[in-house]
């Protein structure tokens, strides 16, 4: 089992690490507040609390009914015009859904759950590019939220019946005699067991278990067509039974590789790198002991000494969403307007509801290339200097009265949650002394410190 962190090691940098990884970081005051709670209470405050649902009412959408449009007796011109309206609606509603979620992530008092929803969005990756229905995508997002901190098996069953997933992985045309293998394959390869832990035959047989899953065209909810379901005996992992989808998921989740696969993936997301084999053995047994309950498991991780070892501190590359939200938090500024949010996430490679493929975002070093690094540097400059009425308060970030030495300490803690390297500190001191303390000069130094490799890490 994991070792609990001794209370004397619950320091300010540990609190900063927790807030960075479990959520989206925070200002020096927020880190201070979390630290003052004590370790156990701090972790509980992140995992165990939830905001009222009506704090963030979701956009009210209705399913896009493509079929009804195509069937009506329209002239080709009318049909083309109707399609165009649908496309505009699709684009606008998708943006509305994105704006809603990113605002929720940025301003909820309960960001740890949103971060976990983001994890699951990358896990059960589903893209609007194929689903083409913001209602379904938003419905899935709420399912992710409802199950994020809950037990895995019911979550997996719910997702197998999630209409966005059904459309994304082609379950809606899978029927007895003609099973579509797409969902069955990804379920085992990417969602539960990992490559190499099943055979091609297992996939073909599993696909039969998920036949007959459909989407109600008007309500956008799940429905089951028994006539299109293959109720025959399937051979999965050597067991001959008339598996339906739920029974097949129970069988898969009971495989030892399932807990191992998920514990490693969760650890990689939160700690920043894949666990060693012995560590993952510990993690998987913790996950199993929790009944594969993700909230309980994460609580164990965030309380463990392993999570705070120096190997993991300031070693994770911020995802674009983490970069954007945390940049706003450390600058103590609101999110920029949605257009800029949309552009930023698009250019940096993490568009919500549009993961690149069913594997989700690769993450880690894949977030950074020579191109996205320069983009981050440039976008930081805009977040420091732009925003109309909501410019960051430079006097709060770096008071004019601070001496260059004090200024370095303040900047290092706020932007890096730790000391700067000697060299960076010397250069910063030099620039501070040379450029003086006008607001514009202070904006410059803040921008430049954010235009460093160090700022990309949490």
């Amino acid at each position: 089992m994991l070792t609990p962190l001794p209370s004397r090691e619950w320091t300010l940098p540990a609190a900063a690490h927790l807030l960075n990884r479990a959520a989206f970081g925070g200002s020096p005051e927020e880190i201070q507040r979390l630290h003052a709670m004590g370790h156990a209470a701090a972790v509980r405050s992140l995992i165990r609390r939830g905001e009222e649902e009506d704090l963030f009412p979701a956009p009210e959408l209705v399913p896009m009914n493509y079929r009804r449009i195509a069937k009506t007796s329209m002239t080709p011109e009318e049909l083309a015009a109707a399609k165009k309206i649908m496309q505009i609606q699709l684009r606008e509603q998708t943006q509305e859904a994105r704006a809603w979620w990113i605002r929720r992530m940025a301003s909820t008092p309960f960001p740890a759950r949103e971060k976990c929803v983001l994890f699951w969005h990358g896990h059960w990756a589903t893209s609007i590019e194929k689903v083409k229905d913001p209602f379904l995508i938003l419905q899935q997002n709420q399912t992710l939220r409802a199950h994020a901190f809950g037990p895995f098996a019911p979550f997996a069953k719910e997702i197998s019946k999630d209409p966005a997933m059904i459309r994304y992985l082609d379950l809606n045309s899978s029927k007895v005699g003609h099973p579509n293998e797409n969902f069955a394959r990804e379920l085992m390869e990417l969602f539960t067991l990992g490559e190499g832990h099943y055979s091609e035959e297992d996939i073909q047989e599993l696909a039969r278990a998920f036949t007959g899953y459909r989407i109600h065209p008007v309500t956008g909810s799940f429905r089951f067509f028994p006539k299109e379901h293959d109720s025959g005996v399937k051979k999965i992992f050597g067991k001959f039974r008339p598996f339906d989808g739920d029974a097949a998921i129970d069988l898969i989740v009971s495989r030892p590789e399932c807990a191992e696969f998920l514990s490693a993936k969760l650890w990689n997301f939160y700690a920043g790198e894949k666990p060693s084999a012995p560590l993952n053995e510990l993690l998987a047994s913790e996950y199993r002991a929790s009944g594969m309950n993700t909230g309980d498991f994460l609580e164990k991780i965030f309380l463990s000494r392993e999570f705070y070892t120096s190997n993991y501190l300031r070693r994770q590359i911020k995802s674009p969403i983490q970069w954007l939200l945390q940049t706003c938090k450390v600058l103590e500024r609101p999110l920029p307007d949605f257009r800029m949010v949309q552009n930023t996430l698009g250019q940096l490679g993490q568009v919500l509801f549009a993961p690149p493929n069913v594997k989700g975002w690769d993450g880690g070093r894949a977030w950074v290339s020579s191109s996205t690094l320069l983009l981050r540097y440039n976008l930081a400059g805009r977040l420091v200097r732009e925003g109309g009425g909501s410019m960051p308060d430079i006097e709060k970030i770096l008071p004019a009265s601070a001496s260059p030495q004090q200024a370095c300490d303040l900047l290092a803690w706020r932007f890096f949650q730790g000391p700067m390297s000697t060299e960076l500190r010397d250069k910063t001191l030099h620039l501070l002394e040379k450029n003086g303390n006008s607001p514009a000069a202070r904006h410059d130094i803040v921008h430049l410190l954010m235009s460093t490799p160090d700022f990309q890490l949490i």
Binding site: K359, S370, Y377, N378, L431
Partner: protein, 434 residues
């Protein structure tokens, strides 16, 4: 590590600016220097490869392109039996011989074929094919055996063994992510989607020169930071690929250096042909400008997505073929106008083909072997490799006749003049398309 960084900085100082220039040179002066010296610097920029060196463009058709509907075996009844809805009638194909024709949308490729600039390689794949997008893409990128997980890419190993000390832009990927094919212990290669954003922007800074000097100095990792205690500390880190901060520093340095050069080339060049408007065309247009502008790049990497046609394939695949064809036609016209068509070889690949039999959703599921094409001024035209059987299948899939690494080996050996074994770890039979 340190040696490489030193080499990179040296490269910037000597090759681009044509002599030792201090990092502290004010930005405006540097820009003036670039403009004035653009023509003269041309020869310097060319140093690593020279104006006549061969260039490879790798085009990935991501998602698993349906090979059977790309190079259509209209002479084979089994094709029509397996695909009652999706098969393309022989009369509609662009006939290459009595047995095969190109997809009707590939009119530009057909012209290139007729001019003698296109080769198709049949039945390309590997033993024990993997039908996972990700695993199979990884296999193609790393040139590994199906059962072996290899971390580094085949281009990365080529850069490592043949391009030591060269510019980081020896490989350029158009897109925001670096392809795994470029991965190497000391990775080289840069990636960007839009050149105008590939530049550190200090327009809003109050003191631009001071800010530029600071920025360049903190992205100059040769000095104390790398020599001092911190590097020892970093080296103890468990991650086999080196420390994350170290990775970021290298990427940052490459970005600063290469962005200067790309900006200069883009400023000087104009597209030489009219391109359609889609992402692939944009990427190829950019590649053509970088080639025309004299980048020292040996390998360009571009991709086109959307080939995972599990359902309603007919219209979708047709659109992809059309987009592919019009983009490649413009690219070739551009290179011909530049006089660089003979220097360039473009090869396509896709992680797998589709299954021979269509599925119940009007699509095709993940398959195995498929054809790929090679084009360029020096390509030996024709169809290479035997026509794969559509009746003798393995799990419903075409059995490969040509190992994809034979294609790589041919490109390395006959085109890039590079030794094959350091890159592919063993030898493979060479093919007659070059």
């Amino acid at each position: 590590m340190k040696h490489t960084l030193h080499t990179r900085r040296q490269f910037l100082r000597t090759s681009i600016l044509g002599g030792a220039v201090s990092w502290t040179i004010p930005a405006f002066l540097e820009r003036t220097f670039f403009t004035l010296d653009a023509m003269a610097a041309d020869s310097a920029i060319q140093t690593p490869t020279g104006k006549d060196s061969p260039i490879l463009v790798v085009l990935q058709l991501a998602g698993g392109n349906d090979g059977l509907n790309t190079l259509v075996p209209f002479g084979d009844d089994a094709y029509y039996r397996a695909r009652p809805n999706l098969a393309i009638p022989g009369a509609k194909t662009l006939r290459l011989n009595d047995h095969f024709g190109l997809n009707p949308k590939l009119t530009g490729l057909k012209s290139l074929h007729d001019e003698g600039h296109l080769a198709m390689v049949q039945g390309v794949g590997y033993p024990n094919p993997n039908r996972s997008h990700f695993r199979s893409t990884e296999i193609w990128h790393t040139a590994s055996d199906s059962a072996v997980t290899e971390k580094y890419g085949w281009m990365g190993r080529y850069f490592d063994s043949c391009c030591k000390g060269e510019d980081p832009a020896v490989g350029v990927s158009i897109g925001s992510q670096t392809p795994q094919a470029f991965a190497a212990p000391e990775p080289r290669g840069i990636s960007f989607a839009r050149p105008e954003q590939f530049r550190f922007d200090l327009k809003s800074a109050s003191d631009r020169d001071a800010a530029d000097e600071f920025f360049r100095s903190v992205n100059d990792f040769e000095s104390a930071q790398m020599d001092g205690g911190s590097i020892g500390m970093l080296a103890g880190h468990a991650d086999a690929g080196g420390d994350t901060l170290d990775f970021l520093q290298r990427t940052s340095l490459d970005a600063v250096m290469s962005s200067d050069k790309v900006a200069e080339i883009i400023k000087r060049s104009r597209p030489g042909a009219s391109y359609p408007s889609n992402r692939l065309a944009d990427s190829l247009n950019l590649v053509a400008r970088l080639i025309g502008g004299g980048m020292p790049t040996r390998v360009y990497y571009v991709s086109q997505g959307g080939y995972d046609t599990h359902s309603n394939q007919a219209g979708a695949h047709e659109r992809l073929m059309e987009e592919l064809d019009s983009s490649l036609s413009a690219f070739c016209a551009d290179l011909k106008a530049q006089g660089n068509f003979d220097r360039v070889l473009l090869m396509s690949f896709s992680e797998f083909g589709r299954r021979v039999h269509e599925n119940a959703s009007g699509g095709t599921d993940h398959g195995a072997a498929a054809p790929l094409f090679v084009l360029g001024g020096k390509v030996k035209p024709g169809i290479v490799g035997a026509a794969p059987s559509l009746t003798q299948l393995h799990d419903g899939d075409i059995i490969h006749g040509v190992d994809f690494r034979s294609v790589y080996a041919t490109v390395l050996s006959k085109w890039l003049n590079a030794p094959v074994e350091p890159v592919l770890k063993r030898s493979f039979p060479l093919l007659p398309f070059i």
